[in-house]
Subunit: 128 residues, 2 copies
């Protein structure tokens, strides 16, 4: 995939997440996707995202930075949201929090095959 | 700067850190460098790194992934080290820990002008 193809595929993936279109997630994520080195598969990936939106009803993925060097695209995502109870083991309980995620996605045959993510959980703890 | 120039400059920067060559850090980092949005300057940057090596005598920066899309280069760094007492507010006390950092570096005129970093502090806490 070219840089343009990956960038466009990635923006479509983020849009899919933001409209919670779980029926189409398999169009963006490979069957045997890995997350931080572990095979979780597209079903595990979808389950993780559904759970994220359950914990954070107003969750939205906002791209602050997009860096594409095929087959990898790296992104800094910004979240500004109000998790309803516990998030990352922290009692957020409806408080508005802002935090970032720095994440790498490796594409293969048009889909995300590997993800390496770090979420700034310490930033959330510092806001409580 | 081209992709090749940034990648080479970046590998030289990492080598400079690993040999703790603080006298040459200003060759790699801009005077008014920002770190996660705050201007800390090259002096603040150097101070932060000197403190990191003080807390972790066997600290080494290992590049697991390098993604360059000028003027930004993103890196996943792996640390496998034995912090001597407290690290990220956690009582590590000489235990060997492994953790990652996902970080973006924006280059300007041959030097790092902005850094957006997230260190996986939760991974360190989970190993204690």
């Amino acid at each position: 995939m070219t840089k343009t193809e990956i960038t466009e595929a990635h923006r479509a993936y983020i849009a899919c997440l933001n409209r919670q279109d779980w029926e189409r997630i398999h169009e963006h994520v490979a069957d045997r996707v890995t997350y931080n080195g572990a095979v979780i598969g597209v079903h595990g990936y979808r389950k993780m995202l559904v759970e994220d939106f359950r914990a954070i009803p107003d969750l939205a993925f906002n791209i602050a930075l997009l860096v594409c060097d095929p087959p990898v695209i790296a992104s800094r995502l910004i979240f500004d949201c109000t998790p309803k109870d516990v998030l990352f083991g922290l009692p957020v309980n409806g408080k508005r929090v802002r935090f970032e995620e720095n994440v790498f996605y490796q594409y293969q045959q048009g889909k995300i095959a590997a993800v390496w993510s770090i979420i700034d959980k310490a930033a959330v703890a510092a806001q409580l």
